[in-house]
């Protein structure tokens, strides 16, 4: 068990190291000159050369890689070519916005997926309709869903806001940077509800495709477990069907579902970027979009690193959680 944890964490560190090597190599390929970014477009050749030496850019690639890695460990993600300020500063204000959206999306995906799975398994009559709606939703590009949502809920009904995170300015009233949580913590219920109204549309649009994937895994698991020997025994012993479902089917299906959630979290990132662009959500995705429009590779690499690290750490946690739930996994 302890060996498993150590091995898993070591492999996580190796993956993260590989990520930094990949990003460094891509940066070299992209032809961005950090010295130029530092001094600006109008600087003299002399100043450029001085900065280049100052920044250690005259060194061989391997030395520069270790400089870059050292910088990363101190939270230095280089300077953005677009804003000419540290990428880390831009991302630190954008990250909480993305976290909040991602958490809501993942939560919605779980709820929708579970409802879909249980309805399908208990053979509720309308499950077919739900399935068709969700499946076509999952086939649609996220940008189409979001735009249709805006068109209907904002344009037609005027029910939801057109975009942004809050009607109460861009700073959160509390320490976490998550509007809903901070609003509740600060006793500002109006801020929290307003933030939820802003969250619903983008979160739902990102959530549909993971919801279907999670639902499918759950359906397969539930079906197999509902007809398994232990479920039959439980029924024979007089356990009500609802309890059989909860204790024997749902619980035993959680492992595969958890893995699926880990995988889907990665796919969700792509959807987040697109949705943030459409509803002007001030998060990492919008930052990436602006960086792409400005060909600002340090900005792009910063986003990739942040999302990559989040994803890798999250998946390690999922693996460890699974082992905690079922020790047999550590042995295999």
């Amino acid at each position: 068990m302890i060996m498993f944890v150590i091995r898993r964490i070591a492999s996580m560190l190796a993956v993260l190291l590989a990520l930094t090597i990949a990003l460094f190599t891509l940066q070299e390929l992209s032809g961005v000159d950090p010295a130029r970014a530092y001094v600006g477009a109008n600087a003299s050749a002399e100043a450029l050369e001085r900065t280049r030496v100052q920044l250690g850019l005259d060194q061989p690639a391997i030395v520069r890689y270790f400089d870059y890695l050292g910088g990363l460990l101190h939270g230095d993600l280089q300077n953005s070519l677009r804003t000419r300020t540290p990428v880390a500063d831009g991302l630190s204000t954008a990250f909480p916005a993305t976290i909040e959206l991602a958490l809501w999306a993942l939560g919605l995906a779980l709820v929708l997926g579970s409802i879909f799975a249980v309805l399908t398994v208990v053979r509720w009559k309308g499950a077919g309709v739900v399935r068709v709606v969700l499946l076509s939703g999952a086939s649609a590009p996220t940008f189409l869903l979001t735009m249709l949502g805006l068109l209907f809920f904002y344009g037609q009904l005027g029910l939801l806001p057109s975009g942004g995170r809050s009607s109460y300015g861009s700073t959160s009233p509390g320490p976490t940077g998550l509007f809903v949580l901070d609003g509740l913590l600060a006793g500002r219920v109006d801020v929290a509800t307003d933030a939820i109204w802003h969250l619903i549309l983008p979160a739902a649009c990102v959530a549909i495709s993971p919801a279907v994937a999670i639902g499918r895994v759950l359906v397969d698991g539930l079906r197999i477990n509902l007809v398994s020997d232990h479920a039959r025994t439980a029924r024979a012993a007089g356990m009500p069907e609802g309890l059989v479902m909860l204790r024997h089917a749902v619980r035993n299906s959680l492992g595969a579902t958890l893995s699926m959630i880990g995988i889907q979290a990665g796919l969700l990132l792509g959807g987040l970027v697109v949705v943030e662009k459409i509803v002007s959500w001030p998060g990492v995705g919008s930052y990436l979009d602006k960086s792409v429009q400005a060909s600002d590779f340090p900005g792009i690499a910063g986003v990739a690193l942040l999302l990559g690290v989040t994803y890798v750490v999250l998946n390690t946690l999922v693996d460890l959680l699974q082992v905690a739930a079922d020790r047999r996994i550590a042995l295999s």
Binding site: A14, L23, S139, P141, L144, L148, V312
Partner: protein, 289 residues
């Protein structure tokens, strides 16, 4: 041996699935999916012939709604003909999906075949590499690679291709290993059949149908993923007709002239749905055999 030990829960589950009609595709749906995909591909191939206007030249007044005379799907903010642009966009979507899938199958196939059939440290090394790629969030890496190479059609293709092969590598390796463990292959090894002949005659034919099924089920998702890349500006640069970038450029007109951003999105949805149907059809056809 494998016949006797087939787990009973698995069999019960299949029966259950049959009973509840989960994945009960009829031959009619299958045929419709394949025919629709063939039609879309044909339309895409013939885009230069069918398209009423050039996709990158002003064709008329801007903001004409769908159904306007001469402009079946209307015109966009510049005055480009949306139908013409969508036909070319469809063409580029289908072409890029085909290229990425092919490259993924070839690279992943070679890696998986080598790893599965040679085994030992080759297997170990190649699979570590594959796992490394799978450990990253694919879409983020694809975006980064595409951005590093500069926004263009080929950059986007390379970006997605870089993250698309590892799944195939893992799949092929698993299949190869399970085939290699079968009696006729053990016999071939003992009879001194050389490696290259074993791969060619016994392993490759064995893995092909699984790979084809997986690849055809992947097309829909790939089309959607690549349209997302194009949407955030990682694709052919502006006036080039791509469905994702068309939607992004039309976004500002969403509330007044909905058709400008929505129609290209519906184009992606249509292609993805048809590709998914056709993928299911391919799976049904190959697994029925």
């Amino acid at each position: 041996m494998s016949v006797i030990e087939r787990p009973t829960t698995g069999r019960a589950a299949t029966k259950w699935m049959r009973m509840t009609g989960w994945r009960s595709h009829t031959a009619g749906v299958d045929a419709a999916g394949l025919v629709a995909l063939a039609l879309l591909v044909l339309v895409a191939l013939l885009a230069p012939v069918i398209a009423p206007y050039s996709p990158i030249l002003r064709a008329g007044e801007a903001f004409l709604p769908p159904g306007s005379p001469g402009h079946l799907l209307g015109t966009d903010g510049v005055g480009y003909d949306i139908l013409s642009r969508m036909l070319f966009g469809l063409r580029s979507s289908i072409a890029s999906a085909a290229i990425v899938i092919t490259s993924g199958v070839i690279i992943g196939g070679i890696v998986g075949l080598l790893a599965g059939s040679i085994g030992g440290w080759v297997d170990n090394g190649l699979m570590r590499l594959t796992d490394l790629f799978l450990a990253f969030p694919g879409i983020v890496i694809a975006m980064t690679v595409a951005a590093a190479l500069g926004a263009s059609f080929s950059s986007a293709l390379i970006g997605v291709a870089v993250v698309w092969w590892p799944m195939y590598a893992r799949l092929v390796r698993g299949e190869v290993r399970s085939w290699a463990a079968r009696p006729h292959l053990e016999a071939a090894v003992l009879a001194g059949v050389p490696w290259s002949r074993r791969v060619r005659r016994h392993l490759l034919p064995g893995v092909t149908s699984t790979v084809v099924v997986t690849a055809s089920l992947d097309v829909g998702g790939l089309v959607v993923a690549m349209s997302g890349l194009s949407f955030i500006g990682l694709g052919s640069p502006a006036p080039a007709p791509e469905l994702g970038s068309m939607a992004a450029q039309g976004m500002e007109y969403l509330l007044q002239f909905w058709w400008i951003p929505i129609l290209p999105g519906l184009g992606v949805l249509l292609l993805a749905l048809v590709a998914n149907l056709a993928g299911d059809a391919v799976r049904d056809l190959l697994s029925r055999r």
